[in-house]
């Protein structure tokens, strides 16, 4: 064949490194069969023996995935396994990426808004997929399954099986192994099993007969934006000492535990070691990490959107708590006005600290944004005080709560955040939407020992680090200047360091002094020259 008529892109079809081995094809078939059982159940095929078919289905999905991964990685030499990532349709926004993206999006829409199609029957016998999970639910918490139980189970299974895939893929890296075992553990124990077991205690005498709200202990406000809603506070307070302790723990988590851990280790201790959203992104989403948008435009959008979500969740939570507090100090010390003043003081302190001590580290637009939002919130609170307007932030607290729960809690974190994994990458929610990540990021950027150190002058600007950054950080832009990477959004997954062919990047905790390089160091250079280059 003449080389002029040869079309290289056609020649790539179905050939290494993108082709599947026979084993991988069979594994895919097995996994699909498992999913098929769930699909049949969804379309109301009645399975006579639910326990049996649930076990068959979940086993087929798990064994299929594990077999596929074992075939892909476990038999190869340890090392970076990104061959053909951009040739494969699934990981390069091709046909299969859209199929999976649409399927996941559809699933989330049904899950959030039409659970009856999954077979949920409130007050009656479940049907469909949900019925299939009834026996497992009975076993764990003593009640029939809900759509959330089905989702939680599948979510945990996904993290476990794709976690094993990740362990094989990165088995040369102890950091990656430990991190993955950690997210697998926290998901299984804290997000899945413990809350279900806690539900068994409801009505028990050690809770003084009360019922605890469903509580994933590692979920911290504002990620679980609903944690301080009235019904949950009632639940905590009616459940004796244990309930009260949990409420205290929820508050300490926000104001004491997370700041200390973030100061010591950066926000990675949460985002890529503990968090459930992070766990799914790092395991099931690993094949899509390269799809994140690295443009400076995307970074700008990210800063505005994620911080706006923080403002939104703060307003919403304040309004909700305000709505159920009383006005009479003799009944309970915390009243509507004490609470509002407390919020105003806290926000002023944080704002004042950042503006006075850290202003030089904030970009121009960050300063404008912070001032703007701060003024608006305080103005609203002041307006409320002096005008006697009933709603604290112009809208009913219930309206704010419902809008937040719909827009952010469902659409953003679920439908877009996970449904669009194969199109936008695995951390869209964490990057653009998660208010928890934004708050930890604020701490990480301004007050933490964590940084990614750039190793002297070894960077060759190859771009592997930027390409595989799931948060869309242009890591190379820093590394090639010899500058440390200190970014609010960095979740510390460590993949940039792993894929670097020259050993340039290291995640580490060290002294605050010199952490953000005002003086970039490119070693090997003449010292006088570096002094000139670093002149700003």
């Amino acid at each position: 064949m003449n080389s002029n008529t040869h079309n290289p892109s056609m020649a790539l079809t179905g050939e290494p490194p993108k082709s599947l081995s026979t084993g991988q094809k069979m594994a895919t078939l097995l996994g699909m069969a498992g999913l098929g059982i769930l699909m049949l159940a969804m379309f109301n095929v009645n399975f006579p023996n639910q326990t049996f078919w649930l076990i068959v289905s979940l086993s087929a999905i798990s064994i299929g995935t594990l077999w596929f991964s074992w075939d892909a990685y476990a038999q190869k030499l340890p090392g970076i396994k990104n061959d053909g990532v951009w040739f494969k349709s699934i990981s390069n926004r091709g046909f299969w990426a859209w199929v999976v993206g649409l399927a996941l999006t559809g699933f989330y829409i049904v899950l959030y808004f039409y659970p009856e199609y999954l077979g949920l029957v409130s007050g009656g016998e479940n049907r469909g997929v949900i019925a299939l999970f009834d026996p497992l639910s009975q076993l764990l918490n003593g009640n029939p399954a809900s759509q959330w139980f089905v989702y939680g189970t599948l979510y945990t299974v996904a993290i476990l099986i794709f976690g094993v895939k990740f362990l094989w893929k990165y088995r040369h890296s102890r950091y990656q192994r430990l991190r993955t075992l950690s997210v697998m553990f926290f998901q299984t124990a804290f997000a899945f099993i413990i809350p279900e077991l806690m539900a068994r205690l409801n009505g028990h005498k050690i809770l003084d007969g009360g019922s605890l709200p469903y509580y994933d202990l590692k979920n911290v406000w504002p990620l679980n934006y609903y944690n301080f809603e009235g019904y949950r506070i009632k639940g905590f307070l009616s459940s004796g000492d244990i309930g009260f302790a949990l409420l205290i723990f929820a508050i300490l988590s926000i104001f004491v535990i997370t700041p200390i851990l973030t100061y010591k280790y950066g926000k990675r201790w949460y985002c890529s070691w503990v968090c459930g959203c992070g766990a799914l992104a790092e395991t099931a989403g690993d094949s899509f990490r390269q799809l994140s948008d690295k443009s400076t435009f995307a970074w700008k959008v990210e800063r505005w959107v994620v911080h706006s979500v923080v403002v939104f969740v703060t307003l919403m939570t304040t309004a909700v708590i305000y709505s159920y507090l009383g006005t009479d100090t003799s009944k309970y010390w915390l009243t509507k006005s004490t609470f509002l003043i407390g919020v105003a003081v806290l926000l002023t302190l944080v704002f004042g600290w950042a503006m006075i001590f850290k202003r030089d580290q904030l970009q121009k637009d960050a300063q404008y944004g912070a001032i703007g939002y701060f003024v608006i919130i305080l103005a609203l609170i002041g307006f409320h005080f002096f005008s006697g307007e009933e709603q604290v932030f112009l809208f009913k607290s219930e309206t704010l709560r419902k809008s937040y729960s719909f827009l952010i809690g469902s659409i953003f974190s679920g439908v877009i955040g996970t449904g669009f994994y194969p199109i936008f990458g695995s951390r869209v929610w964490c990057r653009f939407g998660c208010p928890m990540a934004a708050i930890l990021g604020f701490q990480q950027r301004l007050f933490s020992r964590f940084r990614i150190t750039t190793n002297g002058g070894q960077c060759i600007s190859c771009g592997n680090c930027s390409t595989y950054c799931e948060m869309g950080i242009d890591v190379r832009a820093y590394a090639q200047k010899g500058e440390n990477i200190v970014r609010a959004s960095c979740v510390g997954c460590g993949i940039c360091s792993a894929v670097c062919p020259r050993g340039v990047l290291k995640l580490e905790n060290g002294p605050l002094k010199g952490r953000i390089d005002s003086n970039q160091v490119l070693l090997g250079n003449d010292v006088d020259l570096m002094a000139l280059i670093n002149q700003k």
Partner: protein
């Protein structure tokens, strides 16, 4: 306004342009025939392997150049008229119209300059082998070479076997690339062990093993006699000089090093050797003409460095220095301690200071070598026999902290100090198992010492 014309948009030329822009408002023009925008040459392999798309190898967004008022011209520089200070460039049409790039006609046009920077990089060596220009024979250096490889070796159906000639860094990269598409590879290395003109015996031996572990047919002591044509101008096979053996193949990769890319300068009056001759200020023999990067040849070698250094970071550093000179702060090029790094398939390699191979090292240079009993991890440390001064270190599968070792080299630390503080210099990711205790134990046995390992200290590292 002074007009600075830079020929070549690689790391050297682009770094010079960026720093000139930081320091001044001069008019800057970059001429390149290879690509519209700067990309990382060292990353081309990852495009073929599917780790990255070509655009990922470009460190700056496309809008960067216009925003920084750096004019881009897509053309070949054909002639340089140093008397009238102008260059003749011929257009090289790009696929799509791009408002950011100026493309001269194919007949060419003249561009006047006030200062001219030659940063044209290298080209692959060809040693006059019979058949070296056949279809299917290629080097791996430019974007065009990458495109050619995609044509020559898209899969193992069209390329049943590839033979790579020349056991250096590009050779092993090419082998790794082809193996990702399951193409059988025969790797001809003239030396008795891979890259042993640079690596000491123990290091080189471990890489030999690793190459074979990746199912690459490594032939040591094997050089190319000729490339045989199939009669239609395409490669049919190669013949090994030492054995006379013929190896049927569809692709031959010529990776026996690179040479400065300066043919177009012949007759320009600029003094040439292997490269463009420059003094320590990177000035050529003609006023207002400078050369930087791979194509520059130092009149006198700097330290143990070679007069021509085809290394990424030296190109970058020369660009930084020249920008100072061109902006009124005449400055000498003074690279610091030698360092480099590479990746051999799955094994990362780093080197700091000088560790010479057996055939080039002085008798006063002593080596200490440690290798992990199972994994592909080893280090070699060089020191002076009498003064026991630390000279350099090679590590394989262990990352080292540049800053710490640079510091030790500056302070001329002795080998015992370096070994005792080895943990400070480790740059492996967190939770990695450090091998310092094993290394120190062998060091003590080999050299009859009794060093104790100091624990890693953040205070020493971040001092």
């Amino acid at each position: 306004m002074e007009h600075i014309v830079i020929i070549g948009n690689g790391i050297a030329g682009v770094t010079a342009a960026r720093h000139i822009r930081k320091l001044s408002n001069k008019k800057i023009t970059i001429v390149s025939a290879e690509t519209d925008y700067f990309f990382s040459r060292t990353a081309l392999m990852y495009v073929y392997m599917g780790h990255m798309k070509f655009e990922h190898t470009q460190p700056y967004e496309n809008a960067f150049w216009r925003k920084n008022k750096i004019n881009l011209v897509r053309a070949y520089a054909e002639t340089i008229d140093t008397q009238n200070k102008k260059i003749h460039v011929k257009g090289r049409p790009t696929k799509f119209y791009n408002k950011n790039i100026h493309v001269p006609t194919v007949d060419g046009e003249w561009i006047s300059y006030d200062k001219l920077v030659i940063a044209t990089g290298s080209k692959p060596n060809k040693f006059g082998w019979p058949g070296q220009d056949l279809e299917g024979v290629q080097g791996l250096y430019s974007k065009q070479d990458l495109d050619l490889l995609e044509q020559n070796a898209p899969n193992n159906d069209r390329c049943k076997r590839a033979v790579i000639v020349g056991g250096g860094l590009i050779g092993i990269e090419l082998a790794e690339m082809l193996r990702t598409r399951d193409i059988p590879v025969t790797f001809l290395v003239r030396e008795s062990s891979f890259w042993n003109g640079i690596l000491p015996k123990g290091d080189s031996q471990m890489i030999n093993e690793h190459i074979r572990e990746h199912h690459i047919d490594l032939r040591l002591n094997a050089s190319l006699k000729e490339i045989v044509s199939d009669g239609n101008g395409k490669v049919k096979s190669v013949i090994i000089a030492e054995t006379g053996e013929g190896i049927p193949c569809n692709v031959v990769g010529l990776t026996a090093g690179v040479t400065p890319n300066i043919d177009f300068l012949k007759g320009s009056g600029i003094e040439l050797g292997r490269g463009v001759k420059v003094n320590r200020f990177l000035e050529t023999s003609i006023a207002d003409v400078y050369a930087i990067g791979d194509c520059a040849e130092q009149q006198e070698a700097i330290g143990h460095r070679k007069p021509v250094e085809a290394v990424w970071y030296t190109g970058r550093m020369m660009g930084e220095v020249l920008a100072q000179t061109l902006c009124g702060n005449r400055m000498e090029y003074r690279p610091g301690h030698w360092f480099n790094s590479a990746k051999f398939l799955d094994i990362e390699y780093q080197t700091y200071g000088w560790v010479f191979p057996e055939r080039r090292k002085k008798d006063s240079e002593i080596h200490f070598h440690w290798r992990h009993p199972q994994q592909k991890i080893c280090i070699t440390v060089a020191f002076d026999k009498d003064a026991e001064t630390f000279l350099g270190i090679n590590t394989f599968g262990i990352r080292m902290r540049h800053q710490v070792i640079d510091h030790w080299l500056n302070e001329k630390r002795d080998i015992d100090f370096v070994m005792a503080h080895l943990a400070d210099a480790n740059f492996d990711p967190e939770f990695y198992k450090g091998f310092e205790p094993e290394i120190i134990a062998k060091y003590n046995t080999d050299l009859g010492k009794s060093i104790t390992l100091k624990k890693k200290s953040l205070i020493r590292i971040f001092q």
